[in-house]
């Protein structure tokens, strides 16, 4: 079973995303607290990740740079960006670097799950 | 030791000559009517309106513990700047008359405090001999910021040379 990697510097958002996934029977979850952490975990689990869920604004390495870095060794795994109304303008850049799509925070769990389902089955 | 020439304003009180650095002097004005104050130490005579500024007038005779003398047309006010608690204050010194502005090299000023002066050394910067007369160079800031009367007394007239 492959992993879903969540990277967000907010404990709350990580918890929420994790809870939502677990409720929907997604058990393999990796969590990262910032961009750097996410990159390290992604590298350590290369080939075993089914989906990335990445915050845009993170310390140490922002989400856009992270996408760039991830795409250097993983060109296929879908990347969902968690963004906000404010940062929406960055999404064009994120897509240029290989992000698959984006979700504006806050979002409803139900919607989020539908999106995840498009890429990963539990 | 540097031997800088400095300009001093020489004024007289009771035939004695005193010098203060010209850099401290803002201007010298003729006697003008004073709004009198009646406070205890007496040397603070009152205030004058100098172009919209209120300037206290300190009578130097009284400040030096000398007998009061009524002001005449010859009386002048030397407006000096002294460092106050918050900012620069202007104070007018009422003196008998202004004599001269002279250049005095620092080396000519005898800085040794003379024994026998009741004039405390902190009020006196030094003494200088100009031709026949002796001039006491004053430390204005300390004279004007003290509340007490700076008594010169008898000895001033017969300084030990």
């Amino acid at each position: 079973m492959k992993y879903i990697l969540i990277a967000d510097d907010s404990d709350v958002i990580r918890s929420i995303v994790e809870q939502t996934l677990r409720l929907n029977k997604y058990e393999n979850i990796l969590k990262a607290i910032d961009g750097q952490d996410a990159l390290e975990k992604a590298k350590a689990n290369q080939g075993n990740i089914a989906l990335y869920v990445l915050d845009v604004n993170m310390p140490r390495m922002d989400g856009i740079t992270l996408v760039k870095e991830l795409r250097k060794f993983d060109s296929t795994t879908p990347i969902i960006m968690l963004t906000t109304e404010t940062d929406k303008s960055k999404m064009l850049v994120a897509r240029d670097h290989g992000a698959t799509g984006w979700i504006i925070k806050p979002f409803q769990g139900e919607k989020f799950m539908k999106i995840v389902e498009m890429y990963v089955k539990p | 030791m540097s031997d800088e020439m400095k300009k001093y304003l020489i004024f007289t009180i009771e035939r004695e000559s005193y010098g203060i650095p010209i850099s401290k002097v803002q201007e010298v004005i003729r006697y003008m009517p004073i709004t009198r104050l009646h406070e205890a130490s007496r040397f603070l005579k009152g205030v004058v309106n100098l172009r919209g500024k209120i300037i206290p007038i300190v009578d130097m005779r009284l400040k030096f513990g000398l007998p009061e003398k009524p002001y005449t047309d010859r009386t002048v006010f030397i407006i000096v700047e002294i460092l106050g608690l918050r900012d620069v204050n202007h104070i007018g010194l009422a003196v008998d008359g202004v004599k001269d502005v002279v250049d005095i090299p620092d080396s000519a000023i005898n800085r040794t405090p003379e024994i026998g002066f009741r004039f405390k050394s902190k009020y006196l910067y030094g003494i200088v001999q100009l031709q026949e007369s002796m001039v006491l160079i004053l430390n204005l800031d300390s004279i004007l910021t003290t509340e007490e009367v700076v008594e010169l007394g008898e000895q001033v007239k017969q300084p030990a040379t």
């Binding site: 404990d11 999404m91 799509g101 409803q108 539908k114 | 919209g52």
Partner: protein, 753 residues
């Protein structure tokens, strides 16, 4: 097909259209919405007679929409969906026949194939999904974007505002500590930014602080926290983009917002993260004044886009603009370029608009300030004071003699100009009181923390301006009053709860212009002052006689509180045990001609009311003559003018003290001559006096002549003079050039002791 059925189908198609028009590449939520809409459409069509083809098309479209999840297929999928949905719309509105629709769809079969069978992402693991489950669509819920599209309620909180708070104490407490950490970091960064306002790294970090708080709070349904952090984030976004400079004022504004956030967090904490309880605390903390203030500030800095300028001037239509904006998302081109390319407006128009935008930007950026040193400003105020005096002297001189009409006209014109300059210059020395209010809020919070209490500070009228020097002088007294209020006034949370008050204590800080002065109010909703305890203490200290205790007025009673060494607090706490009492407050205020008054209701509130002159440079004075000089008394302290009949005066046995009996009180009669050492003239039958009310006492001050109330430009008296005459606070020069002395009442009374 029934009418209702057709309507339902039409609704779905319209919805599809709207979703597609606003679709931006990568918008996964919208992608899901589009898929859901298509599923619903398919479900409606499925079993309708003669709609088989339509249903089939919908089924295909569902699969096309799956392509939205794959960046490779997405652009094609979008344009295919857009074009088909337009056709469908036309078909349903009757402008396109079924046949024509079929033809159009067939013409796109190549595109269909590309999207449906191209390479791309497949859901992993497991087989490809079948067509989406056709569940009913829930009524579309607006995703709270927190943006301008959701206008916040202007007054208080709308019904249901707090209903979305999640019932998860663990998550809420997690959020609490996370947000607290972010605020702490933001706080220290903000302090650094005061010295280094353009440091990109700092700005990025602090932006992220609020960004994260906003994001997390939105999830938990903490709408107030979200709105607030969003407002701050918006401001910081502009700073980050270099659109505005992070001035001292803006930093203060952010500080202010952080305080509010802290209050909200505290409201969560104190209620153990129980949403029902939290709501109650939330309700008393109104964030909207701040949000509105922030919005006003941001509006100042916002500038219009080129497209907006062109549309506003009627050079292009709004529809054109929308079309262009849509187009812009697909290209990298600027609106201006597109306008010219599409020949909607001329190059000149665009250049014109660009120029306008530029001046606007320049204006926005320059809106700032010119820095002037305190010294220069003080000198300017001084010189203008002289100008005012000189001009009135000149006027008296000229009007005294025979003057021409022209001279008179000129002089009155000069007077107008002088007055304008005077007001302008005085206003330059004015600062909004928010400068200290913000600091006071920090003091309040720290004090509350020290004492383990919970306090919310509300501010009103923080943009009220007053003299910088006044602000400096009142800072310490205000700190003292606030600490006092939290220490003695605000009860501990349990006690408050028992009394049926909200657990969070409230401190109100308000400033307001009143007459020619300013009124500052500090109010706490705490214990209030118990008159009996003040009486007991006053009697213990021998300030109050038993027989007076019954009849003493509340105002006079409270005045005791301002006496040195007077404290009714039974316990000494770290906060109040610092050796400063309200007497210091009073002394500080006296020095700037301010007055302080207390109003209180036991168990409910204590209110300190401070009245101050607007500026120290000009006061309302009452001019008198004593002996040979003119003396000016501060008008604010004068209760009445009292003409004493010589027979009214009762002398004490040794004749050293004189008293009169006036309105039920014995009032000492003081001769101003004694203080000013002016010559006393013989008492006539009628003695002129001013009745002062100072501290808890009244005094009659005898003068020789009452000249009248006047605006007095205060001039510095040198330290030398003030040292000798501590009963003066300054001097003034009258229109005729004569000098008057401004009396400091505290010093005046002390010199009589």
């Amino acid at each position: 097909m029934t009418v209702e059925k057709k309507k339902t189908i039409q609704t779905f198609v319209e919805r599809l259209n709207t979703l597609l028009q606003g679709y931006e590449l990568g918008d996964l939520v919208k992608a899901v919405d589009i898929q859901d809409t298509l599923s619903s459409l398919y479900k409606e069509l499925q079993n309708l007679p003669r709609m088989e083809k339509f249903a089939q098309l919908a089924q295909h479209l569902i699969r096309v929409a799956d392509g939205l999840a794959d960046p490779e297929k997405e652009p094609k999928a979008v344009s295919l969906l857009r074009s088909v949905s337009n056709d469908l719309n036309a078909f349903l509105s009757g402008t396109l026949s079924g046949k024509e629709l079929g033809a159009r769809v067939r013409a796109k079969s190549g595109l269909f194939r590309q999207v449906l069978f191209g390479q791309g992402i497949q859901p992993v693991p497991g087989e490809e999904r079948e067509a989406k489950k056709t569940e009913a669509i829930a009524p579309r819920q607006e995703i709270p974007s927190g943006g301008a599209s959701v206008p916040p309620p202007s007054l208080g909180y709308e019904v249901g505002y707090f209903d979305s708070i999640v019932e998860d104490e663990k998550l809420l407490s997690q959020f609490f500590s996370e947000a607290k950490d972010h605020l702490e970091e933001a706080q220290s960064i903000l302090v650094e930014l005061e010295y280094d306002p353009t440091n990109k790294e700092l700005i990025n970090t602090i932006f992220r602080n609020f960004h994260t708080i906003k994001g997390s709070s939105a999830f938990l349904g903490l709408r107030n926290v979200e709105e607030l952090s969003h407002a701050i984030e918006d401001l910081l976004a502009l700073v980050r983009e270099g659109k505005i400079f992070l001035s001292k004022e803006l930093i203060d504004l952010v500080f202010h917002g952080m305080e509010l956030l802290r209050n909200l967090l505290e409201g969560m904490h104190i209620n153990d993260f129980k949403p029902q309880e939290m709501k109650k605390s939330f309700r008393i903390i109104d964030i909207h004044p701040y949000i509105n203030l922030m919005r006003r500030v941001l509006d100042q800095y916002k500038y219009r886009k080129i497209g907006e300028i062109l549309a506003e001037e009627g050079k292009i239509t709004l529809q054109d603009l929308q079309k262009l904006l849509r187009k812009q998302t697909e290209t990298e081109k600027k609106i201006g370029e597109l306008v010219v390319e599409e020949k909607i407006a001329t190059t000149e128009d665009v250049l014109d608009a660009l120029k306008k935008q530029k001046t606007q930007v320049a204006k926005v950026k320059r809106l700032g300030y010119v820095k002037v040193s305190n010294e220069k400003l003080n000198t300017l105020i001084d010189i203008v004071g002289e100008l005012v005096i000189n001009q009135s002297m000149l006027k008296q001189e000229l009007l005294g003699g025979a003057t021409s009409d022209r001279a008179e006209r000129n002089i009155s014109q000069l007077e107008t100009i002088t007055t304008t300059i005077k007001n302008l210059v005085l206003s330059m020395g004015m600062t909004p009181i928010s400068e200290i209010f913000t600091k006071l809020r920090v003091v309040a919070r720290n004090t509350a923390e020290e004492l383990g209490k919970s306090v919310y500070v509300e501010m009103r009228g923080e943009d009220t301006e007053l003299d910088r020097n006044v602000i400096e002088t009142i800072y310490d007294p205000l700190i003292h009053i606030i600490r006092n209020s939290i220490d003695h006034g605000i009860e501990p949370a349990e006690e408050r709860q028992q009394k049926g008050k909200d657990k969070v204590g409230k401190i109100l800080l308000a400033a307001e212009h009143k007459g020619s002065g300013i009124e500052i109010v500090i109010e706490d909703d705490g214990r209030g002052i118990e008159a009996d305890r003040v009486k007991a203490k006053a009697m213990e200290l021998g300030l109050l006689k038993k027989e007076e205790a019954e009849s003493i007025s509340i105002k006079d009673l409270y005045a005791f509180l301002f006496l040195p060494g007077f404290s009714t607090s039974s316990s000494v706490t770290t906060v109040s045990g610092r050796g400063v009492g309200l007497d210091v407050v009073k002394k500080n205020l006296d020095s700037i001609h301010g007055r302080v008054e207390i109003v209180s209701e036991p168990g409910k509130f204590t209110r300190f009311i401070i009245r101050l002159p607007l500026t120290l440079a000009i006061i309302e004075g009452f001019v008198t003559r004593v002996g040979e000089n003119k003396y000016v008394f501060p008008f604010s302290a004068i209760e009445e003018i009292k003409v004493i009949d010589a027979s009214e005066i009762m002398a004490s046995e040794n004749g050293s003290e004189a008293l009169i009996y006036h309105r039920g009180a014995h009032i000492p009669v003081l001769k101003a001559h004694r203080v000013f050492k002016e010559e006393e003239k013989k008492n006539g039958e009628r003695i002129l006096s001013l009745l002062f009310s100072l501290d808890q006492s009244k005094y009659c001050v005898v003068v020789d002549e009452l000249i009248g109330k006047q605006e007095i430009v205060i001039k510095n008296l040198s330290d030398t003079l003030l040292q000798e005459c501590p009963y003066f606070s300054g001097g003034t020069i009258f229109g005729d050039g004569s000098i008057g002395f401004v009396v400091d009442m505290q010093g005046f009374l002390e010199s009589l002791k």
